[in-house]
Symmetry: C2
Subunit: 532 residues, 2 copies
């Protein structure tokens, strides 16, 4: 039996841009549009030309997407104006996009209170706008705003808005749960009604997550006959977000019920890039990835307790609903203070460190980890520091060099021109096999200065660390306020492109950073088999 | 028509404890159990006595909960042992709890692979364990692990496990979607079958969020006849979390479809404490609250764009699905670089700063905010810094004092006993109306030292700031890696118990901290009407 085509419409760059704390630069938008195109998304809604200068500029040039339909969003013509006399509509029509997605009212209440006009004028506005866009050769979509609330209050009017859009030539009529308050069974019932009037392959769903059911609402609409799902990457969107495409794509591709019936535009090999796509968006936006995100979260396939861990190691199917690798994720059996010996042994074997199961040093390692983690260390996040801790317990880490002393200084004053300047400088005194080396460096901040000074001259070891660089620095204050302990995570990369993460914990942020920097350097020396 | 009773079972302290990165101290557990009891939760699952020392201790004393049923979790007796010869079961029976919740296998596959025993032995194990607990006067619940997968694979066996539990005297038989991979309509179909064999008011649902449908699955089970929902606060739980009680409670109380049919143990006035409960858990665990969490998230009722803002200000119903105050939240019209004038005016009036709508200085303020926010400032999080920025644009902030220079030093070395010590010291030179004051201070870190030195002697202004203290310090690195810009948020509190938040942004963390500290002090002086 052949499968039906299901279309995915991404509004990360438009609805997602309304997220509290999110702002896309023009460059960001271009990157993300490409990312979505490569993933296999059918429609990329790039923004709202005319609403702000950045979006207007984005639509002033072709984006050259290979397969996705590049879409511009905007309002239907304003009440009381003609289509040819509406500057907002004019901007939309000028936009260099393949498609236009109009947002139209479909709730009587909204028409009256928000637009302050009549039902008839609202329908005319839909008709005129769709017609104008079709005349310009655009594919047209119409987002029926507040559709479900509107339907519950006056089903005939809501339906007439949707039908007017379809009859005027819209390729898609999208039913929006704008407030996010509709329940899945309500969505299913209402969509079933709508597809009696408009063919399901012209009906879309646009859900919001205000009751934490945006995904369920979207899938319910598909079960009821809709064939387009609108959402965002990582569930971005104002308030509680839009329907999360990263949660829905794997379900559509891997769960029998959907995979047997529907085909989406994302091929299997692209599904395996989903984790990467999700992280890329977070990196662009400087957002901390949600470790608990379904499918793509770093904890999505992580088992902590001893019981689960031994079952999973026996047979992954016991606790995994899909294979992690299919979405580019991996199984992780955690190292943590709740860990049983089996967890730690598994983590150690990943680092190629071998302990016998009954080795008393293993017990000592686990005890030390529990103690340190109680104090703020988090070894599941810092693979290289865990590695070194394990090796030290085995007595296998030489003391390549010793930092006798360091001094970090930050000074702020007015310079001779009366301009306020801030200067950071560090001095590090290192003892390499009896040779005392003193290095000084400036930096854009105290940690940067310390990092540069530390790695400036390590004598015979300098050549091993020359290719290293710090690529990420993360700080977290634990226990809040004045009793705070600072946890620093540093990610380093070397000339081979290998990356590793180290950790430091202290009430003093410079000390915490120093621990992480030291572990990073020592790890590189151990990894390079530098002669001690 | 009278409503049916729906029961809420919280497993934050048991299933929630398995969250990656979460560890509860004994003190934490006591606090949270009280919190849940006061909220009106029916069952509080406190943990797994025997699994770790902390949980065993937790159950060694009565908790004295006023209305919630305090519950201990554990496994049914092991295969091949008798109930009286199973140490794990013995610990459970000794636990000072009102109820025991046994986890039992209900999937043939799990019985064979994970337990390595027979179906008959599994049923006997359920029967014996429930019997033993009933004999000791406990209320009994049975979590049928992997129920939905088990039912799909062998419905008779899964059902027999559930029926055995019920017939042996369990008050509740809880159907668990342990892998989190079941779809809501499957849950609804299967639960409808189960309640033909076991009365719905003895059937519970325990869902996981691996496809982002734990809430939908829980509500679907209720629609199908189940009358207990298991979940956690803030959706805590391993992998992608358990069903989020903070998302479900308001839906059950405020959405007609549920509120008309069901009554839960949480009275209206306690519903209004939900935001507080959610934040309290995050504070205890030092977790950053999810701003986008449904109902309780700080962004759950926040509108950013000008269009939405003006509609919401006209009539909140246009964009809100429930009233924010009912859950203890509030509507926020954001100040951000996408903000229209109306947004900023609304924020200003909250600070009692009055601008005329057409005041050119308002334009200047908005422009300056956009510029600063592009550079990393985030005024929606820093009310006091926003306040000062607005007042400065109006020319209303006197220069109480001037920091001519500061110097912050962190030194690490070995002391005379060969112990590594880290010392942080700061010197600040301040000019107060021509008087130059130099103060020095030590601290547990460079920012602490700078804070103490800055506020040590401000001459005539010292009395206004004596009651101030820093209560929270948050750091975030933006733009990652070596091009990083650091954003610091500082929350301060004074002798009146008032709190305010200030912000600083710089590549240099000390400079960023200094900006936030200065704003904090100046804000206090302005607030106190200190004479300039």
């Amino acid at each position: 039996m052949s499968r039906e085509r299901l279309y995915l419409f991404d509004t990360t760059l438009r609805d997602g841009a309304q997220t509290n704390g999110v702002d896309f630069t023009l460059h960001d938008k271009r990157l993300i549009a490409q990312l979505l195109d490569e993933l296999g998304i059918d429609y990329v809604e790039g923004g709202y030309p005319g609403a702000n200068p950045s979006d207007t500029e984005f639509f002033s040039q072709e984006q050259g997407l290979k397969s996705a339909t590049f879409t511009a969003f905007g309002m239907t013509r304003r009440p009381g104006r003609s289509a040819s006399n509406d500057p907002g509509l004019a901007m939309l029509l000028e936009a260099k996009a393949d498609a236009i997605c109009f947002v139209a009212k479909s709730s009587e209440y909204q028409v009256r209170v928000a637009l302050e006009t009549t039902n008839e004028e609202n329908l005319a506005s839909i008709r005129d706008s769709v017609g104008a866009a079709k005349a310009k050769g655009r594919e047209v979509l119409v987002d029926c705003e507040h559709f479900f609330d509107g339907y519950k209050e006056n089903p005939e009017f809501a339906l007439s808005c949707a039908k007017t859009a379809y009859e005027s030539g819209a390729r898609w009529v999208v039913l929006c749960d704008t407030n996010g308050g509709t329940m899945p069974h309500e969505v299913e019932t209402i969509v079933r009604e709508v597809v009696k009037h408009i063919p399901g392959d012209h009906v879309g769903i646009h859900a919001h997550n205000d009751t934490e059911q945006a995904v369920a609402n979207s899938l319910a609409a598909v079960r009821a006959g809709a064939r387009q799902i609108q959402g965002t990457l990582n569930g971005l969107g104002e308030r509680c977000g839009n329907a999360n495409l990263c949660s829905m794509i794997p379900t559509l591709k891997l769960k029998k019920e959907f995979a047997d019936k529907f085909e989406i535009g994302i091929p299997d090999e692209k599904l395996a890039s989903l984790v990467q796509v999700s992280r890329t968006l977070d990196n662009i936006l400087n957002r901390v990835p949600d470790p608990h995100a379904p499918y793509v979260g770093s904890s999505a396939f992580v088992t902590k307790t001893g019981i689960h861990a031994s079952a999973v190691l026996k047979d992954p199917q016991t606790y995994e609903h899909v294979s992690p690798e299919s979405v580019g994720n991996h199984r992780k059996v955690l190292v943590s203070d709740q860990a049983g010996r089996s967890n730690v042994l598994a983590a150690l074997s990943r680092s190629n460190i071998v302990f016998e199961k009954d080795d008393p040093r293993l017990t000592r390692l686990i005890e030390e980890m529990k103690e340190r983690e109680a104090g703020g260390y988090a070894y599941e996040a810092a693979n290289a520091s865990f590695d070194l801790l394990a090796r030290r317990t085995l007595g296998k880490v030489p003391e390549f060099f010793r930092v006798e002393q360091f001094d970090v200084n930050v000074e702020q004053r007015y310079n001779s021109h009366g301009v306020r300047v801030t200067v950071a400088m560090a001095v590090v005194k290192v003892n390499v096999e009896g040779h005392v080396l003193i290095s000084a460096a400036e930096g854009n901040g105290p940690v940067n200065a310390l990092d540069v000074a530390l790695r400036k001259d390590l004598g015979k070891y300098q050549k091993y660390i020359d290719g290293m660089k710090l690529v990420d620095y993360r700080v977290r204050i634990l226990n809040g306020g004045t009793e705070a302990v600072t946890r620093v995570l540093i990610e380093s990369e070397d000339e081979l492109g290998e990356r590793w993460t180290t950790i430091g914990v202290s009430p003093n942020i410079i000390d915490a950073s120093f621990q992480a920097l030291m572990d990073s350097v020592i790890y590189k020396l151990v990894k390079s088999n530098a002669p001690a």
